[in-house]
Symmetry: C2
């Protein structure tokens, strides 16, 4: 933990390495997709040694997971609007915007890639999704204290996130604001 905190202190060399490696991964994913590049290519583009990447992340899969989770947390944080409907509408709209963009299917692509890359890939997939599920459950757990329904994160996954993901993946979009709001209303109604 001390080691992790030290390697991630803002402004240090380690933070610059982290940012350069994350940027290199983001660029390579955009150019070639998941699975289309190696740790050596990431390291070369970031201007660091291969061993720096392996020491910090352990594997290409772990690095991809870290980059995607960091990006998701920055771009689609869990909202806190003061009521359940507001939180869900805000979150659903943010996810719809994110997955409709050019890099939109990043999470699904990563999940498919990890699911097909053995036990380590499955472990990373599970820890990645557990972290996002934990964040969403925290948002949902605030509702009962306000006299609102207590929803399970999996129910939101089933009826709000899954339809949007599959519509984009299957090219059955676009995700209009009316469609996205309708998914949330249907869940709450």
């Amino acid at each position: 933990m001390d080691e992790q905190q030290r390697t991630r202190r803002p402004g240090g060399r380690s933070a610059r390495v982290g940012a350069a490696v994350h940027q290199a991964v983001t660029d390579l994913v955009g150019e070639r997709g998941y699975g289309g590049f190696t740790v050596s290519e990431v390291a070369a583009r970031a201007g660091v040694a291969d061993t720096t990447v392996y020491r910090r992340w352990g594997s290409l899969e772990a690095l991809l997971t870290d980059v995607t989770l960091t990006r998701l947390n920055a771009r689609s944080p869990m909202p806190d609007t003061g009521d359940l409907a507001g939180d869900l509408h805000t979150y659903a709209a943010a996810v719809a915007r994110e997955i409709s963009g050019p890099e939109g299917l990043a999470v699904l692509r990563l999940t498919v890639a990890l699911s097909g890359s053995g036990p380590e890939g499955l472990r990373l997939r599970d820890s990645f999704l557990a972290e996002r599920a934990r964040q969403m459950q925290s948002m949902l757990d605030r509702a009962p204290a306000r006299g609102e329904r207590h929803l399970d994160a999996l129910t939101v996954l089933d009826h709000v996130m899954a339809p949007m993901y599959i519509r984009v993946l299957f090219g059955a979009g676009p995700l209009t604001p009316e469609y996205v709001a309708g998914l949330v209303d249907r869940l709450l109604g």
Copy 2:
């Protein structure tokens, strides 16, 4: 059309070639995943010339689409039980069984692969999914004549298929019979 019928007549050399190529693709997908092999490797394993594959299917992507659609139609045909609830419960249970198996995520993997492989991939993805949507819509269109609700195939995709796909993809299974039946009941209720 004559040409196509002739090349696909049962029992002929063309049918044997088709079966051998399909089996080679299925084996290679199982061993290496989508994107892990070339037309030449398929041809070699099927014991045919590369040009035979290109002449008949045009591209690796088109071949993969043909194999997956053939497999889906054979293993998860649209049911006709005489009522809407029966049709949906039967179909949902068949899909759940199919996607819970070792090759379960074939459709999603193919869709992800096609989505990332340029305009030809997107065209194939769209024609593939349109064919399955057309089959499902035919099943749903029988309902109003029996005094039942008229559902849109996209609504079934959103609230029955999408949750199952995403649960398996995210490792949030297993898809128990109760869970699958609950998705259909919720849609109809």
